[in-house]
Symmetry: C2
Subunit: 348 residues, 2 copies
DNA sequence: TTTAGCACTCAAAGAGTTAGAGTGCTAAAT
DNA sequence: ATTTAGCACTCTAACTCTTTGAGTGCTAAA
């Protein structure tokens, strides 16, 4: 494995990404930065095939990269193309300024990615780990029916109705409200845990057993609070890729199978994952490129695209990197002024 | 147009639905209930083509039904096959018993329809038109920040945060709470209207101008309350129908174009609509079969399937009819005992 | 009015051909 | 020891030509 072989591998991947056709020795030999004959390239390509980086669809066709080929290309060989100032400006315009609500910010980022890459964009909202419970209320609303309300310092509102075995009298309600106010107010979302609520159930039950459904309700709400929401937009683009199985794509659009797991196991920095490298991700031959954005220097959410394995990594990766940086910057700027949108919930 | 022609038309549609292939005179002549020769059938088929009920894909092929052909078949000719007891039991099992939450009930119905018909199921949730506002609260939750909470008698909970220009003092808050309690409590969801809120804005502004965002917030919540949610499940099935254009299916899956309009203009009882009969519905050559279910004898929501025009109406229509009846029954049974699931909302 | 018979049409499937891109191998050149 | 040119070979994609069979419309007899 010498440097010429690597150069040839890079060239093959680049060409394949550009054209979508298997690439032959002749095409490579014509490239500017390649100065050996087609015959030499043929020999090297045969070697690269031996090593598992390239493969042939059939005997008399050119080569296409294998998974390992792409992997090596992305990790070592690829030469990302820096964003021009115009491109940066364009992204800035698409994102919106400093006073754009966070939710809209990531929506805009998703829209930008969809438009630029012609792939599906995937974003997660920013989880308010570091925000604290600012208000918790219990509101009687029918016989034996209570609505609990949880509000955090960053503006999340969650509510849930609980039915009890008995009605609470004024004193009991007062006790409970006071107790949870005492125990939850000011607690950060990160600190909320099931153990914590288990303890509360125990404490509260000592006073009155039938209060525990309320605590369980609170526990569930706190789980919701910590749960990250995942949005995929522009997924119709994936149906235009004939590399991808349409059936799989639609199933994925419906259920988003495996995606959240996949994002879970992502660590910081930009990352490329192939569907073949993970189990339970629905779309074969696809590639996920994501990066995490940060808010006040803590990981807040993810941002990226899902596309065919043959996407223009060179071009797309810098875009995603720029967007995450910019979003991190914008989100960390003014923490205090919370922008409230809307929030509803329906039960029947 | 005599009864034999109608019989032949019905036979052609049945056969075409069964086989998916253009059907010829010979195939019809072999059917049990047809006792004339192929030549006679040929003459009648030519006449039916003249009348616009049948068409030929090409000269030397059999006939397939036109839109009008299907229409006549469905409205007059078709002989729906009654559900067997086993089938009814199966549906009952899939739906769930009397204590199944409404939301789950329609989800189960959708799943059952998807499985049985191999088409996409479309359901709308039950809009609580006839339920009344049972509680409305305003909760101060930060500086100039207020959460309004709207709860209906059927268990819907909606909340929304509003930012005001100024902070309210205790008296002002008291006034406002009292005012909206007075004006909204006991009002049915159906009665809520924008005009009503306009009046409230005027009245409240007379007392204190900066209260109006709260009323606007209430107005938006009430809109949410009245909004019907539409779910399409199993839409991947539509991709297996080669009668349907995959690209159109995909666009539909993403945007559900025209579907809610289409459901709006549906009246009571089971109904079949062809894409060709409506403008703005995305999937050409498709057919929508829906029926409305009722809760306490008032229209609550819709339930049905989207499939290719060539679906087994004979079989599917009874299924949908049975499901809507059963759901109407289950939903109307115990109105008092509201089952609460969960409800959350996130803002940032 | 219905039916049998027959010539005709047309799409789909299969067979055969060609063109071209790309390969691997060998032997000469560097 | 590499690199290159040359050449025979392979395989697909596109094209034409032919065959097959289902289905029709028309005519004339029942």
């Amino acid at each position: 494995m010498n440097s010429r072989k690597l150069k040839i591998l890079a060239a093959v991947v680049d060409e394949y990404i550009r054209t979508g056709e298997p690439v032959g020795s002749k095409a490579i030999s014509k490239l500017d930065n390649i100065n050996v004959s087609a015959a030499t390239i043929r020999n090297d390509m045969a070697a690269l095939e031996q090593l598992g980086y390239l493969e042939q669809p059939h005997t008399s066709a050119g080569r296409i990269p294998t998974f390992s080929g792409y992997r090596l290309y992305i990790d070592e060989l690829m030469n990302p193309s820096a964003l021009s100032d115009e491109e940066k400006c364009r992204l800035d315009r698409m994102l919106g300024g400093k006073d754009t609500p966070e939710e809209l910010l990531i929506q805009n980022a998703a829209a930008a990615l969809t438009e630029i890459t012609q792939c599906a964009a995937v974003v997660t909202n920013s989880v308010p780990r570091f925000s604290v419970i600012s208000k918790v209320e219990v509101i009687p609303t029918g016989k034996r029916l209570y609505v609990i309300l949880l509000i955090t310092s960053n503006g999340s509102i969650k509510n849930k109705a609980c039915r009890l075995e008995f009605d609470l009298n004024h004193e009991q309600l007062e006790f409970f409200t006071h107790y949870i106010e005492e125990n939850l107010s000011g607690v950060s979302v990160d600190e909320l845990s099931e153990e914590m609520f288990d303890k509360m159930v125990a404490a509260v039950s000592a006073y009155m057993v039938s209060l525990s459904p309320l605590v369980m309700g609170l526990c569930e709400l706190s789980e919701d609070l910590r749960q990250q929401e995942l949005t995929v937009s522009g997924s119709e683009k994936l149906l235009s890729c004939d590399e991808l199985d349409k059936m799989e794509v639609v199933k994925f659009i419906e259920h988003k199978n495996g995606l959240s797991d996949l994002l879970e196991e992502t660590f910081s920095g930009i990352q490329v994952k192939f569907s073949s490298e993970t189990s339970n991700f629905a779309i074969g031959n696809s590639s996920l490129i994501v990066s995490k954005y940060r808010k006040c220097n803590k990981e807040a959410g993810s941002l990226g695209i899902i596309g065919p394995m043959r996407v223009d990594y060179k071009k797309i990766i810098p875009y995603i990197e720029y967007l995450t940086q910019k979003i991190s910057y914008l989100m960390s700027g003014d923490d205090e002024d919370i922008i409230i949108t809307d929030t509803t919930a329906d039960i029947d």
